[in-house]
């Protein structure tokens, strides 16, 4: 786009951001390949326990960990490292930024080794009693702590900016990034406790058994806000860049701030809606989390209206008339504002992701879809919709601006989000319809229910898994186009000076921030809300009368320690 403010970037910061963008995109090649294998396994095209040296659950773990955790965490840190200094007009302190990147890279390599060696087929939720190699957990912890350090590195910048700009509103882009990492920091404390206190000692053999419901509760304390850690950088782009890309203005700056604060408040105390069938948690605690989950839908609904108003404003300036003409008068295929195509395609996908999430959150209705393929059908409409497309688009934008290169294969770049949109809608329709017919998630259907030679053969699901596979192949084609654009651009010659530049929008209503000016009171409110929501759950889990469990691997019904001779094998005396 023309007319953007360019700020020079020192070479260290340039290298840092480029490494944090390129490395996860390289890993994403593996993650996407693993995703393609998933639809082929599930459709019965591959009727085996493994393919190409990758076992089914190993591939599923790689797909989830790389796509949903590694790629997203690296991206959020890179985006913050680029956007926070840009929006504040300051230089990024590099020493701790490199420490952060080093820890994240080391952690990723450890976890990747454990997965690729077949020693951590525990899926991205790493629920015990499935047990992984200790390096998987240590690697995950390093990735998380590295991302914390990146956040801590921005706080002195923010404080200095506040001192130097008394009475001014914090730039909305900084509010968005800080909301992202506040949610991340609070949420990851729980998973850090799970990993450090429960799982690492257990996987090292220092403890024999683990409290499964406690571990699962700690995971979902983290797991649902993780969704907002994914969504918040996308929301930051929607509020601060999309209106300008569409030729308009953000309808209300204050509403943007309100949405970010509401997400800090409500995105964490909602974890039990992933555990509605967990017997140890009381119904009253689950119901409270159900209500709070509806509360967290509110900022997304506010966002739907505000972004629509912002897009309408831009379209009316270009002559749109009537109630809905503004929808078609958007720059969907603009070569100049190509980033728009990634953001708008993600928003269209999110329309379906939003309602399917509300259905999941509805306490009794959840039973209809729980643990079926509906669930991954739903979350591909969120994390593989607005999140993935916003991250892919911004990764390209950062690659171009921080390397001083021109975007190559621009037509392909604009086609990618729409091809993905078609693919993900087909994919999710198949998954969700199949789920309503009882199709399970996380199952190698080609080995069982979709294998005509199997006694479990279930032909009713054939249509759904076939549609899912077609969608998955289209999604893979979209990603092949994306990788071609990304790596052709990355390997091309530099054509200009590298500089930070973001298409930040003006606000139509630029109201004072008022009570939303400071994070502190909202942070306190968030902690109180978390205490109210989680105290009954912690009590339930600690009072439960269930047994703790030894570790297992997905392909063996015997505990790991028993296989290694570390656990006493019960013997039966002959009569």
């Amino acid at each position: 786009m023309n007319g953007l403010i360019k700020l020079p970037v020192e070479s260290g910061a340039r290298r840092l951001v480029l490494i944090e963008i390129v490395l996860p995109v390289v890993l994403l090649v593996l993650g996407i390949y693993a995703g393609l294998l998933q639809v082929l396994f599930r459709a019965g095209v591959i009727q085996a326990a493994e393919f190409g040296g990758w076992e089914y659950y190993q591939g599923l773990t790689l797909h989830g960990v790389v796509n949903a955790v590694v790629f997203t965490t690296f991206f959020a840190v890179a985006f913050g490292n680029a956007l926070v200094p840009y929006a504040l007009g300051m230089r990024l302190p590099l020493r701790w930024a490199w420490v952060s990147a080093g820890m994240m890279i080391a952690g990723t390599l450890m976890a990747a080794w454990a997965i690729l060696a077949g020693k951590a087929s525990v899926l991205y939720t790493f629920y015990p009693p499935l047990m992984a190699h200790p390096l998987f957990y240590i690697g995950a912890a390093l990735l998380i702590v590295g991302s914390w350090i990146a956040f801590f590195n921005w706080i002195p910048l923010y404080r200095r900016w506040r001192r130097e700009h008394p009475g001014e509103k914090t730039p909305l882009a900084v509010v968005g990034i800080f909301a992202t990492f506040i949610v991340w920091l609070i949420a990851t404390i729980a998973v850090a406790i799970e990993v450090v206190v429960l799982l690492i000692p257990w996987s090292l053999g220092w403890t024999q058994e683990v409290n499964v419901p406690l571990a699962r509760m700690l995971f979902w304390f983290f797991g649902h806000p993780l969704v907002y850690f994914w969504l918040l950088p996308a929301y930051t782009m929607y509020y601060t860049m999309l209106p300008r890309l569409a030729g308009g203005k953000l309808y209300s700056d204050k509403v943007g701030r309100l949405v970010f604060i509401l997400l800090i408040l409500f995105s964490i105390p909602v974890g039990a809606h992933h555990q509605y069938t967990e017997p140890v948690i009381s119904s009253s605690a689950k119901l409270l989390h159900a209500f709070l989950t509806f509360a967290v839908a509110l900022p997304s609904l506010i966002t739907a209206f505000t972004l629509a108003a912002s897009l309408e404003y831009g379209a009316r300036q270009r002559g749109a008339r009537g109630l809905f003409d503004w929808i078609v008068k958007q720059p969907f295929f603009s070569m100049d504002a190509w980033l728009f195509s990634y953001l708008i395609a993600g928003l269209i996908i999110f329309i379906m992701g939003g309602i399917s999430g509300i259905i999941n959150a509805s306490y009794s209705m959840n039973v209809v879809v729980h643990n079926t393929s509906w669930i991954p059908g739903h979350f591909h409409l969120t994390v593989a919709g607005p999140v993935l497309l916003a991250f892919l688009g911004m990764s390209l934008h950062l690659l171009v601006s921080y390397s001083g290169k021109q975007l190559r294969l621009k037509r392909w770049a604009v086609a990618v989000p729409y091809l993905w949109l078609v693919g993900v809608f087909i994919f999710s329709w198949g998954m969700m319809r199949g789920g309503l017919h009882g199709e399970p998630r996380r199952s190698n259907l080609g080995m069982s229910y979709l294998n005509p030679d199997s006694p479990f053969y279930h032909p009713e699901w054939k249509l759904f898994v076939t549609v899912t596979m077609i969608g998955g192949i289209i999604m893979t084609l979209a990603m092949i186009l994306y990788f071609a654009v990304f790596f052709t651009t990355a390997l091309s010659r530099r054509s200009g000076e590298a500089a930070a530049e973001f298409p930040l929008s003006e606000a139509y209503h630029d109201e004072p921030a008022g009570a939303l000016a400071n994070f502190r009171p909202w942070l306190i409110a968030a902690v109180i809300l978390i205490a109210i929501a989680y105290t009954p759950m912690v009590r339930d889990v600690l009072r439960g009368t269930f047994n703790t469990a030894p570790g297992y691997e997905p392909h063996n019904p015997a505990p790991v320690q028993q296989m290694e001779g570390e656990l006493d094998t019960p013997t039966v005396e002959p009569e």
């Binding site: 629509a308 309408e312 809905f324 929808i327 009794s364």
Partner: protein
């Protein structure tokens, strides 16, 4: 309508209509699922 007039008078009628349609669409899907739930009793 000139841009200056739009700047002063912009009321997002289209966004209001879109939002209303979105809520109706969401309600339809939610109640469809509710019917599915009731059908399984």
């Amino acid at each position: 309508m000139s841009n200056q007039v739009l700047e002063e008078r912009f009321v997002p009628k289209g966004a209001i209509a879109f939002f209303a349609a979105l809520v109706v669409f969401y309600a339809m899907l939610w109640f469809t699922m509710y019917a599915e739930l009731l059908g399984r009793r």
